[in-house]
Symmetry: C2
Subunit: 440 residues, 2 copies
């Protein structure tokens, strides 16, 4: 790997891939494919400012390597230079011993800052905020305000949004740099600022924070405590990461995959095994109930073996329809499109949708039923299809609401769970109808 002399902004690697050396994300990607020794070697060659930006883009494995192998003075310089939100993520990944040593080596302000940010639970606003924000006193005029922003710019995540606070750090209002530029020279910050500030508490869930930022197109969102004192801000780039990660988490939940803390590419065989096995085994035991249902009807099956032909088809259809319903509902609840109060209206609508779907699918199998077992079996299969699809869809629609009402994450209504519930009910419905209609 070499830094191209003619254009020091680019790195050309041995395999001729070109990266923008000025972009931390690109530098980190290149580093992530090196051995730890090489990575450390090249990392040391970077300037401190770039180092501070690169760290948050490195893989977990590499971050831990830095934390445990960089000489302590270098590590504390690095950590002091990093943005507070990147810094606390880095800190949280370190082994406990390294954390303690690091804190001892830092200045008081940084140590307290890390402690404060690390005290918040992982899914909260507090865990993603930064403590580096721009504040202004209400009595300044625009020219003074801009001069102050210029002055504190190196220490603020953003100067485009400034927060007006009193001497107790209580949030009085916000003002944007754009407004300052356009303001008349005699106005004060107190006059210019927006007083109804949209803010969140430190314990607000990340998903809720993302909904708010998205709804109001915010560039930055202040985080306040119960006394309305400013604790930190969350910026748009971190929200973009939150939205992407939350979507990934929900998608994984829908397939009953436990929370993966590392990048998928880097995960080990054992990690992947561990995150998936629990639910798969639980679902096996859950599915035993559908087997029990079948056991109950063993004689019927022995007499009409043609019924078995349709079994996977029917229970799959219930599962598919239920998955569709659940997917729609879980996502709509997550993005805020649908709320608890809409439940009855949506369930009623689902009855009709599912009825229509069930009838279409019954029509599709009816002909097959005739061919395989005659009109009796066709009737059984057709009726069962309608019933199974309706039950599956209604369960799939209702379950996310129930979970949401109980304060749980609707995304826990996973596809395998819905499918298993549909299977059990499907088996019982199918053979119950069969035993009735076939006079067994």
């Amino acid at each position: 790997m070499e830094f191209v002399q003619s254009n020091p902004k680019l790195i050309v690697t041995a395999d001729d891939k070109v990266y923008l050396a000025s972009q931390p994300a690109d530098v980190a990607e290149r580093f992530n494919s090196l051995s730890r020794g090489e990575m450390l070697e090249l990392f040391r060659q970077l300037g401190l400012a770039i180092q501070a930006k690169v760290v948050s883009h490195l893989s977990e494995r590499n971050q831990v390597a830095l934390a445990t192998r960089l000489p302590r003075p270098q590590l504390s310089d690095l950590v002091s230079k990093m943005d507070p939100d990147d810094r606390v993520d880095f800190y949280n990944r370190m082994p406990e011993g390294a954390q303690q040593q690091l804190l001892l080596a830092l200045a008081h302000a940084e140590r307290e800052d890390i402690r404060m940010l690390a005290s918040y639970q992982e899914h909260c606003a507090g865990a993603i905020m930064t403590s580096k924000y721009a504040t202004l006193a209400p009595e300044l005029n625009p020219e003074q305000a801009i001069a102050r922003l210029r002055q504190i710019s190196p220490d603020a995540e953003t100067v485009y949004n400034a927060y007006v606070v009193d001497e107790n750090r209580q949030l009085l209002g916000t003002v944007s740099l754009r407004e300052l530029l356009l303001a008349g020279a005699n106005q004060t910050i107190a006059e210019l600022m927006v007083k109804e500030v949209i803010a969140v508490n430190a314990d607000t869930h990340k998903e809720e924070v993302a909904k708010i930022v998205r709804r109001y197109d915010l560039m930055a969102l202040p985080v306040t405590d119960a006394q309305n004192q400013l604790l930190g801000i969350i910026t748009y780039d971190d929200i973009l990461d939150v939205v992407t990660e939350e979507a990934t988490e929900d998608m994984h939940k829908s397939a009953n995959i436990g929370k993966l803390t590392t990048n998928l590419k880097d995960a080990s065989i054992f990690q992947l095994f561990k995150k998936r096995v629990l639910w798969l085994v639980l679902l096996v035991f859950g599915n035993v109930f559908s087997g029990a249902g079948i056991a109950h009807y063993e004689d019927l099956i022995g007499a009409y073996v043609a019924l078995v032909f349709f079994l996977p088809l029917l229970i799959d259809s219930g599962g598919n329809a239920g998955s569709q319903s659940a997917t729609l509902m879980v996502r709509a609840l997550a993005t805020g499109e649908v709320q608890l109060k809409d439940c009855s209206k949506i369930m009623l609508r689902e009855v009709f949708v599912a009825l229509g779907l069930g009838l279409c699918m019954a029509a599709a199998v009816f002909g097959l039923g005739m061919m395989r077992g005659g009109s009796e079996v066709a009737m059984v299969v057709g009726l069962s299809m309608v019933a199974i699809v309706m039950v599956g869809s209604l369960v799939g629609t209702f379950l996310p609401f129930v979970l949401h009402k109980l304060g749980m994450d609707p995304a826990s209504a996973s596809a395998p769970m819905i499918t298993s519930l549909s299977d059990i009910s499907g088996v019982l419905i199918y053979f119950a109808i069969a035993s009735q209609l076939l006079a067994f």
Copy 2:
């Protein structure tokens, strides 16, 4: 509904809900629950600037109402005032007759702007960009540049990022307002600007655009044509919407739901039916193959009815494991965590993960197999479980790569599709092993 006199920034409704009247998203939410007549009545009472912001947050139904019922002079004032990206979305929703009439009523510049933005396909960068951006000439000094930004501020989506162009509108570089504030008085824009600009083409897919914005934490991303001329910019708030919508779309695809163009809450019975029925019926026919497999082994089933007990359990397990694999892979491909070149490494890893999972699940059912049918059946069930889980997982892992390689959306490897493939293979594997081991 009333505007509260004491605090004109709030609206208190008859049911005592309070909305921020200053926030377009809140005003629109209130409007979306009114009848069209009431909505139009109250909309007219708003100032033009707020109207222009509110439109993009209104439901599709309400936007169409505005387009068809507002008097033409009002409509063209409104459209002229709106941001270009919101405006073209509004325009695209109008019935064709209304579109034509509107274009006739607009000034030339706005008409051409709408035509240009509307010419891009829905999934492209061109469809989400705005043409309102700040440009600077390279020879300006910082003070002149800031003065210019102040001047053009009403007409630019953002003044925090400015684009340096030559007389042919070719993009030479970018400079941020923060850099301008911190720059020395004698520097020129040409010296300050960043020359390696991260930009995209107008036909770049939205998902790709989102990956880039996320990777480099961009506040705004310029869109250029083949001659490097600046066409427009995409801002962080629109990317946040893109990421959320793309995630929703992928989740729906994973359950084989067709693209819903309206809000879930507002969708009609027929719309929901239409979006879901096609795939459900197709999957029914697909599942006929698993039935055919069963038909082939009808005699075996008649002789060993206990085998049917385990059928749903086994094929479900294959489907669950396959869904997990597919979910992990589809999402990782969508967010860029995993690329095509990682395929063989990941498939190899999956062999081991799936083997481990299969053995665990086989152990779980083995005892049951003993109870229900003796050691022979237990063997058959155990072996089948391992084989079925491995095949399901590998298919679930491999299919997204195949689709991606063929240029299709990996998210088309939906859970129902994976489940159906697992079912068919599961049935064949199970009864093949059974007929071998039970010497049938």
